[in-house]
């Protein structure tokens, strides 16, 4: 240890100490006379980076609201950190947000595993973990054990059931179904919901299921295997690039099944893949407005979203469905914060998010409402089916329930 080392060491220590300075007082953490600090964590980088659009959309919407006077006179300070889809990084981010940045609440933390990893901690600390961008059923169901946690998205299992119902009711010729799923809670939730939706038929109709690990480079072999099963229906319970690969490989193999693609992989940015003929006729669900859908072209909510993106998130793609989804979540949070009143407390926010009755969210599809009670904690429990046609989604059929 030379003096040079020692100097370097003390410089490092000084740096640590300096960056540690942070205010902590006030009765309610994260709430001052002029601001509310909200925290989040999500995959800004890594294989799931597309989902970070949710955080960018929410951030833009909060800035927009703040510029117009904020909520009950307080501006919203939204701080989100990158976890690259690694749940243990999420845990550390959330610690930083709660213990260092003193956030009032966590909002829209992205990913099922990430939310599972942090909920023991947030509930022990009594910090609201609200409107998580994750669709595992447990976030709405297990409120007795985890009162401070609430999700937002329609539960994956229900999504799977809706596809099953659609197959059972519409298929003239008997379906032979092949499923590609991500081997984690998210993919397995969809698969098990799908199976239970098919009920007694599942054994007969599902001819092949194959999992993949998201660290793999491609799903070429899996898709070839599914094709070889002789299936005429292809369920894509995959995310991001693996969803695109599924379409492209099916095409490359000359396989033309009827395709169902799960909600989180159905953003128009993903579906605009090449060649387009592959995606034609695919079915998915929607609950937020996809700006690329012609039906919403003149929609006031989509126009507002575009305006907000242009001003507060320049450089982001205004027709990215994830961004609008993030705005929908942010709109609901602002509603809840308003309802929680001027004298903002964490318990007050919890009460507000479990008494939602929001019918005017401009970023949600018509007929989709945000409704919760203390014993029913699935904010979005209605969805509509949509079909990909000529380069965009076309909603069809009525709004249907996705209540567990």
């Amino acid at each position: 240890m030379t003096t040079k080392h020692a100097a370097l060491a003390s410089a490092l220590i000084a740096l640590v100490v300096a960056s540690a300075a942070g205010a902590r007082t006030a009765s309610t953490p994260g709430v001052s006379a002029t601001t509310i600090t909200i925290g989040s964590s999500g995959p800004v980088t890594g294989e799931a980076a597309a989902a970070a659009g949710v955080l960018k959309g929410a951030d833009a919407y909060f800035k927009y609201v703040s510029s117009r006077g904020g909520v009950n006179g307080r501006k919203i300070d939204f701080k989100y950190l990158d976890d690259a889809y690694d749940p243990s990084k999420t845990v550390q981010n959330v610690r930083e947000l709660i213990q260092q940045d003193n956030v009032f609440a966590l909002f829209s933390v992205v990913g099922t595993n990430s939310n599972l990893a942090i909920r023991d901690f947030t509930n022990a600390a009594g910090v609201p973990q609200v409107f998580s961008a994750a669709g595992a059923t447990t976030f709405g169901r297990d409120y007795a054990k985890y009162p401070w946690t609430i999700g937002y998205l329609p539960p994956y299992a229900e999504e799977g059931k809706i596809y099953a119902r659609h197959i059972l009711t519409t298929d003239a010729k008997p379906a032979k179904i092949a499923v590609l799923y991500q081997s984690d809670d998210y993919g397995k939730d969809l698969l098990s919901g799908f199976r239970s939706g098919l009920g007694a038929q599942a054994r007969k109709l599902v001819v092949q299921t194959v999992g993949y690990d998201p660290t793999t480079s491609d799903v070429q072999s899996q898709v070839a295997q599914l094709k070889a099963s002789g299936a005429n229906t292809f369920m894509i319970f995959a995310f991001g690039k693996f969803a695109i690969q599924s379409f492209v490989y099916a095409n490359k193999l000359g396989w033309k099944p009827k395709i169902y693609v799960n909600d989180v992989a159905s953003a128009s940015s993903i579906m605009k893949l090449d060649p387009q003929s592959t995606a034609e006729g695919s079915i998915s669900i929607l609950w937020g407005k996809d700006p690329a859908t012609p039906k919403f072209a003149k929609d006031a909510g989509v126009a507002l979203a575009a305006k907000i993106v242009k001003k507060y998130a320049p450089g982001e793609n205004p027709s990215d469905g994830f961004i609008v989804a993030g705005m929908a979540e942010a709109f609901s949070l602002v509603d809840a914060l308003e309802a929680a009143g001027k004298n903002l407390t964490r318990a007050g926010l919890l009460k507000a998010v479990t008494h939602m009755n929001e019918v005017n969210n401009p970023f949600l599809a018509p007929g989709v409402k945000v409704h919760t009670t203390p014993t029913f904690r699935f904010p979005i429990s209605a969805v509509q089916l949509q079909r990909w046609h000529k380069g965009h989604w076309e909603p069809f059929g009525g709004v249907q329930s996705a209540k567990p």
């Binding site: 740096l15 890594g46 690259a84 889809y85 690694d86 213990q99 260092q100 022990a124 809670d185």
Partner: protein
């Protein structure tokens, strides 16, 4: 020798007082630094002193972390007692891995350990009935967690949970540092370096080369196991994604930053792994919200160090050798 002992004394005092001015969060961050510190010490023993490279030390950390997590959540073993078990399990696996490693020259050992680090997360996910799969295992609030996440009372003094984690990690960290210091300055260390510098000469002087190389693997893996165990206890959560190839590579960067083989330098490497993102964030116009810049600078630091290291190494090894011979 006296100077170095004094330095350790000063370090212990600084470590003990550090949490006072620091926030809760910085305290627990430094606890994580302690876990990295221990892992890098292990890597120093293996690569720095016995000349065997490992690009997969994150895998041994994973063994330790999962040993702790599984024992705590499924078998009701209190977190503290899982630490020596984790050391034993990881060390045992390290010894076993050391035997085939004897047959591989440096380059091929690098390849093989790199492969292990890349493939490990998928294997952990596959055996999900055992490891909890990609959902991982949450330890927070488990009855086996000392203080149940709420804080611990030691010698009449109430510590917060974060202060407790810090105290635990660094107590073990300092102990393992002293152990490494003693090991490396004793016969064990001299023989390791003899084998590293000239296998032939070492063999001629009657050193059992294979035994020493395998032993180095075992010791190094045991250190990594303790580090993994402490990381699991600190974060109170483990999942396969906690141990990506990047972790193993960052540990290597950490070891190089510590001038390879100088266990004194391990602290710089450990601090770098934890705080590089914050340091890079100080550069104007660089957005560290996006992981790219931090990763880039990690790589850059390694490249630059390797370029200047031949110079540094020469100076360093002279200093180090003098230190060790004096210690004997």
């Amino acid at each position: 020798m006296r100077f170095r002992a004094a330095l350790v004394g000063v370090a212990v005092v600084v470590l003990a007082l550090l949490p006072i001015p620091l926030s809760e969060f910085r305290t627990v961050q430094l606890a994580t630094v302690g876990a990295y510190f221990i892992a890098i010490l292990g890597l120093d023993v293996l690569t720095g002193h016995s000349g065997q490279i490992s690009l997969g030390h994150g895998a041994f950390m994973a063994v330790g972390a999962y040993t702790t997590a599984i024992l705590m959540s499924n078998h009701g073993v209190r977190d503290l007692w899982t630490i020596p078990i984790a050391a034993g399990v990881a060390g045992g696996i390290g010894l076993l891995a050391g035997i085939p490693a004897l047959r591989l020259s440096g380059l091929y050992l690098a390849l093989a350990t790199f492969g292990i680090a890349i493939a490990l997360p998928t294997v952990l996910k596959k055996f999900d009935h055992f490891t909890g799969g990609s959902t991982g295992i949450t330890l927070f609030g488990k009855p086996t967690q000392t203080g149940h996440g709420a804080g611990v009372k030691i010698l009449g003094k109430q510590l917060t949970n974060n202060e407790w984690l810090y105290a635990l990690t660094w107590t073990i960290g300092v102990a393992l540092f002293l152990l490494a210091w003693w090991l490396l300055s004793a016969r064990f260390g001299r023989s390791l370096r003899a084998v590293r510098d000239s296998e032939l000469a070492a063999a001629a002087s009657g050193v059992n080369r294979s035994a020493y190389k395998v032993a180095a693997f075992g010791v190094s893996a045991a250190y990594a196991g303790v580090a993994g165990s402490l990381l699991a206890i600190n974060v109170a959560y483990v999942s396969p994604d906690t141990f990506p190839i990047q972790l193993s590579l960052y540990l290597l960067v950490g070891a190089v930053v510590g001038f390879f083989g100088s266990i004194w330098g391990a602290i710089f490497g450990a601090l770098l792994i934890q705080f590089l993102a914050d340091i890079v964030g100080l550069i104007p116009h660089v957005d560290t919200k996006q992981g790219g810049p931090t990763t880039f600078f990690f790589g850059l630091v390694l490249v630059v160090l390797m370029l200047v290291l031949p110079v540094v190494l020469k100076v360093g090894s002279r200093v180090a050798n003098r230190g060790y011979s004096r210690a004997s």
